[in-house]
C-alpha cells in the first residue's frame, strides 16, 4: 500500500473516532438537557409555591392598618402610616371611586426598617422597604404612587404611557401641559393652544395613527427639530448615520424618511404623559364614582369612546373642558419683589460709601 493511502486510511479512522466522540457528546448533552429541563420545571413550581408562601408570610405577625378600603400590613414602627393613609385614602377614593373597594383585597405590604444604612437588614421578597424616619408627607406620596390597584388593560396603558395613579401635583401637571402646548415643535399642539379642539384630540393621540407624522409635524423645520432634538443618538450611527447627517444639513426628505422608519408607536406624540393623565383624571372626576369601572369596561373600544363612557359626556366636550383647565393653569412668571431693587441698590450705595469714606493710614 502506498504512503498516501496509509495517510488517508489513518485520517479516516481518526475522523471516524472523533465523529463518534461528537455523537456521544451530543447524546450526553441531550440527556443532560432533558434532566435539567425536568429539574427546572420542578424548581419553577417550587419557586412559585415559595413566592406565594412569602406573600402569605409577609402578613403574619404584623399589624394591619385599615383606612377606608386601604389595607396596610406592616411591622410595628414609628412610621406615620395610619395618618398618611387617612390623608391618602380620600385622594385614592376620588380617583378610582367604587373600584377602590377592590383595594381591600390588595394590601400594601410595608417593611419599616432602620434608616441607619449600617444596621443589618433582613432580606425581603415582597412589598416595600421603607426607613421608619420618613415624614408623613413622604409616606402619603409613597402610598399614592404605589397604589396596589390592578393594572389597566394594555390599550389604555399603552396610550397613557404609564400606570394611572392619583395626581400628586395636579396644578403643576396642568402647568406643565400649558408649557408643552406653547413650546412643543408641533403644529397640532399650537393649534390646540389656539383653541382647535379637534387638533387637541389629535395631539393627545386619538387620531388615526396613519399619517400622524404629517399631521403632528407638518413643516420641515418641525421634523428636523424632532430628529435632531430627540433622536440624534439613535440615528447618528450605523446604517442611518448618512441620512441623519443629511437631515441635519437641511434635507427634509431624509428627515421624513428617518421618522417614517421609526417602528411601532415610537414617533413622539406632541403632548406628553401629563397631558393624557390630566385628561383621564378630569374624565374620572366628571364621571362620578363609577367612572373608573366604565373606563375599563370595554377594553376593545377606541379610547375616545371609553373616555366618553367614563366622563358621561362627548369626548370633544371633555377635551374642551380639559383645555380650559390647562389654559387657566398658566404658570405665573417669577416675580421680582419691589424691595429686591431697593436692597440691591442699598448694598451698592453702602459699599460705594465705605470705599469713598475709607481713611488713609500712615506707615509708622
Amino acid at each position: 500500500m502506498s504512503r498516501s493511502a496509509w495517510v488517508f486510511l489513518l485520517m479516516s479512522v481518526a475522523w471516524a473516532n472523533s465523529a463518534h466522540a461528537q455523537d456521544t457528546t451530543v447524546a450526553r448533552l441531550r440527556a443532560r438537557a432533558d434532566s435539567l429541563a425536568r429539574a427546572w420545571r420542578e424548581a419553577g413550581a417550587l419557586a412559585n409555591l415559595v413566592d406565594s408562601l412569602e406573600r402569605a408570610r409577609a402578613g403574619e405577625g404584623r399589624d394591619t392598618i385599615a383606612v377606608g378600603a386601604l389595607r396596610i400590613v406592616t411591622n410595628p414602627s414609628p412610621l406615620p402610616l395610619r395618618q398618611a393613609a387617612a390623608r391618602a385614602w380620600p385622594v385614592i377614593d376620588s380617583l378610582y371611586g367604587t373600584a377602590g373597594a377592590d383595594l381591600a383585597r390588595r394590601p400594601y405590604i410595608v417593611h419599616a426598617v432602620d434608616p441607619d444604612t449600617a444596621a443589618p437588614r433582613a432580606s425581603f421578597h415582597v412589598g416595600l422597604e421603607v426607613p421608619w424616619d420618613l415624614d408623613e408627607a413622604s409616606v402619603v406620596t409613597l402610598l399614592l404612587t404605589n397604589v396596589p390597584i390592578a393594572p389597566p388593560d394594555l390599550a389604555l396603558a399603552d396610550w397613557l404611557g404609564a400606570s394611572l395613579r392619583p395626581a400628586v401635583r395636579s396644578q403643576y401637571d396642568r402647568a406643565t401641559v400649558y408649557v408643552q402646548l406653547v413650546t412643543a415643535p408641533s403644529a397640532a399642539a399650537r393649534r390646540c393652544y389656539l383653541g382647535d379642539v379637534g387638533r387637541c384630540a389629535d395631539a393627545l393621540g386619538f387620531g388615526d395613527p396613519a399619517g400622524a407624522l404629517e399631521r403632528w409635524y407638518p413643516s420641515s423645520g418641525e421634523r428636523r427639530a424632532l430628529v435632531i432634538g430627540s433622536f440624534a443618538e439613535y440615528f447618528n450611527r450605523g446604517a442611518t448615520a448618512t441620512a441623519f447627517r443629511a437631515c441635519a444639513g437641511g434635507s427634509d426628505s431624509d428627515c421624513t424618511e428617518l421618522l417614517r422608519g421609526l417602528t411601532g408607536n415610537a414617533l413622539p406624540k406632541p403632548l406628553g404623559y401629563e397631558a393624557r393623565t390630566t385628561l383621564v383624571h378630569l374624565a374620572l372626576r366628571l364621571g362620578g364614582r363609577d367612572a373608573y369601572r366604565r373606563l375599563l369596561a370595554n377594553p376593545a373600544d377606541p379610547l375616545a369612546a371609553r373616555l366618553t363612557a367614563a366622563a358621561g359626556m362627548p369626548v370633544d366636550s371633555l377635551i374642551s373642558r380639559w383645555r380650559g383647565q390647562v389654559m387657566s393653569s398658566r404658570p405665573r412668571p417669577v416675580p421680582l419683589p419691589v424691595w429686591g431693587f431697593a436692597v440691591a441698590l442699598g448694598w451698592t450705595v453702602l459699599f460705594a460709601f465705605c470705599g469713598l469714606r475709607s481713611t488713609r493710614w500712615r506707615v509708622t
Binding site: 435539567l36 415559595v50 413566592d51 424616619d133 409613597l142 417602528t263 475709607s358 488713609r360 506707615v363
Partner: protein
C-alpha cells in the same frame, strides 16, 4: 494697629457674623428625601435556584444543538457550491417557514457579509437562527452561542442565534418591515460574533485561542469595519454622561484596573487586556473537544472589565491592518509579545490611547485640574498686586 483700621476690622467681622446668622441655619439643613431610593424586593432562594437551572439548561441544550446542526450541515457545507458561499443560514422553528422569509434573511446576510468585506473564505460560517422563543420544553435561549472549528470540523464555525420575538416577527413577515431592514442587517452582522473573526482571519494560533477562550471572547464580540469608532454603538453608551450621578455609580462598580485604564494608566490597561493571556486553562484540552463560546445573556456590558471591550479586537484589527493583525493572530508567541509586535507599541500604552477615544479620561486622587491651579494662582497674584498698589498709593511718607 491704627485705631481706624481696627474699627474697620471689627466692622467687617460683625458684618460677616450678621450674614452668617441670616443665611446659615442654626441646627443644620433639614433632611431631604428627594433622592431616597427604595429597595427592590429580592428573589427568593427557590427562584434563584430555578434561574440557575435554567442557565445550565441553556448551556447544555445550546451546546447539543450547535453540535447537532454542524453534523447535519456537514454534507451541505462540503459541496463545492456551498463552500463558495462561505455563509449558510438555517432557520429553525416549530412552524413552517415561508419561502419569502428565507429570501429575506439570505439577502440581509449577503449584505452583512459584504459589509465585513468578506467573499469566499477558508472557514465557513453556519448561522442557525432560532425562531421559536420559549416554545421548547425548557426556558427560552436568550443569547447567542458559538461553536468554534475543531479537529472534527476545521472549516466551519457555527452560531446559534435566538431570534427573539422582535426579529422572529420581522423574519416571518410583518407589515411595513422593509424600513427595519438596515437594523436587521446590523443585527445579523453583530450575531456572527467570533465566527466573523474566523471567517476573516482564519483559525488563530493556540496561544491566541486559549487567551480568547479563557475570556469567553469578551473582547471579540463584534467585528466592525466602521470608522470612526465613535459613530457606532458601544457599551460606553450605557455608561451615560459624567454630568449625572449614575455615571459615577457605574464607575465605582468597576475593578481597580478598569478605573486605572480609564484614567490613562498603561499598567491597568495592560492587565485588563492580557487577562487570560498567560493562562494554562484548556492547555491540556484535546483539540477534538467541542469549543463552545457562551455570551452573557443579559446586561453583558455590566460584566465587562475593558470598556468597550466588545470592540477591542475589532479596533486592533482595523488599526494595524490585515497583514500585521494576521501576524498576531497566527503567532505562537505569548499574547503580550505578539500583540505588542502588531501594535508596534507596548500593549498598555496603545490600549490607554484606545480607551481615551471612547471614554473621557478619569482624574484619580484629590488633585485639582491644572487649569484650576492656574486660575487660582493668577487670581492670587492679581489680588496681591492690587492690594500692594492700593497700599502704596495710600501711604503718606
Amino acid at each position: 494697629m491704627a485705631r481706624d483700621l481696627r474699627r474697620w476690622v471689627v466692622a467687617t467681622l460683625v458684618a460677616c457674623g450678621v450674614v452668617a446668622f441670616a443665611l446659615l441655619p442654626p441646627r443644620g439643613a433639614a433632611v431631604t428625601r428627594a433622592g431616597l431610593v427604595f429597595a427592590i424586593p429580592q428573589s427568593t432562594p427557590a427562584r434563584l435556584r430555578a434561574q440557575a437551572l435554567a442557565a445550565e439548561w441553556r448551556a447544555a441544550d445550546g451546546a447539543a444543538r450547535l453540535l447537532d446542526q454542524r453534523a447535519r450541515a456537514r454534507s451541505v457545507l462540503s459541496s463545492p457550491e456551498t463552500r463558495k458561499l462561505s455563509v449558510t443560514v438555517v432557520l429553525t422553528g416549530p412552524q413552517s417557514i415561508p419561502r419569502e422569509a428565507v429570501a429575506r434573511v439570505a439577502s440581509a446576510m449577503d449584505s452583512s457579509w459584504a459589509a465585513l468585506g468578506l467573499g469566499e473564505t477558508k472557514i465557513g460560517v453556519l448561522v442557525v437562527i432560532d425562531l421559536a422563543p420559549g416554545t421548547t420544553s425548557g426556558p427560552a435561549q436568550e443569547a447567542p452561542m458559538y461553536l468554534e472549528p475543531d479537529s472534527t470540523n476545521r472549516t466551519t464555525c457555527v452560531a446559534l442565534v435566538p431570534g427573539g420575538l422582535y426579529w422572529s416577527r420581522f423574519i416571518l413577515g410583518t407589515p411595513g418591515q422593509e424600513r427595519e431592514r438596515p437594523y436587521f442587517v446590523e443585527w445579523l452582522r453583530a450575531s456572527l460574533g467570533p465566527c466573523a473573526f474566523y471567517a476573516t482571519y482564519g483559525a488563530p494560533s493556540k496561544t491566541v485561542r486559549r487567551w480568547l477562550t479563557v475570556r469567553q471572547w469578551d473582547i471579540g464580540r463584534f467585528l466592525s469595519t466602521e470608522n470612526p469608532v465613535r459613530r457606532a454603538w458601544s457599551s460606553t453608551d450605557m455608561l451615560g454622561d459624567p454630568r449625572y450621578g449614575w455615571y459615577w455609580e457605574r464607575i465605582y462598580t468597576f475593578s481597580p484596573s478598569t478605573v486605572a485604564c480609564m484614567a490613562g494608566r498603561p499598567a491597568g490597561c495592560r492587565a485588563l487586556v492580557l487577562r487570560g493571556g498567560g493562562a494554562s486553562d484548556g492547555a491540556g484540552r484535546a483539540d477534538s473537544l467541542p469549543r463552545i463560546v457562551r455570551t452573557e445573556p443579559r446586561r453583558w456590558w455590566q460584566a465587562q472589565d475593558l470598556i468597550p471591550g466588545e470592540r477591542y479586537l475589532s479596533d486592533v484589527a482595523r488599526t494595524v491592518g490585515r497583514e500585521r493583525f494576521l501576524g498576531f493572530w497566527g503567532s505562537p508567541l505569548p499574547v503580550d509579545t505578539s500583540l505588542a509586535l502588531a501594535l508596534r507599541k507596548p500593549v498598555g500604552e496603545w490600549t490607554a490611547e484606545w480607551q481615551h477615544r471612547y471614554t473621557p479620561r478619569l482624574r484619580l486622587g484629590p488633585a485639582a485640574p491644572v487649569t484650576a491651579y492656574a486660575l487660582a494662582v493668577t487670581l492670587g497674584v492679581l489680588v496681591l498686586f492690587g492690594a500692594a498698589l492700593a497700599a502704596q498709593r495710600r501711604q503718606v511718607r
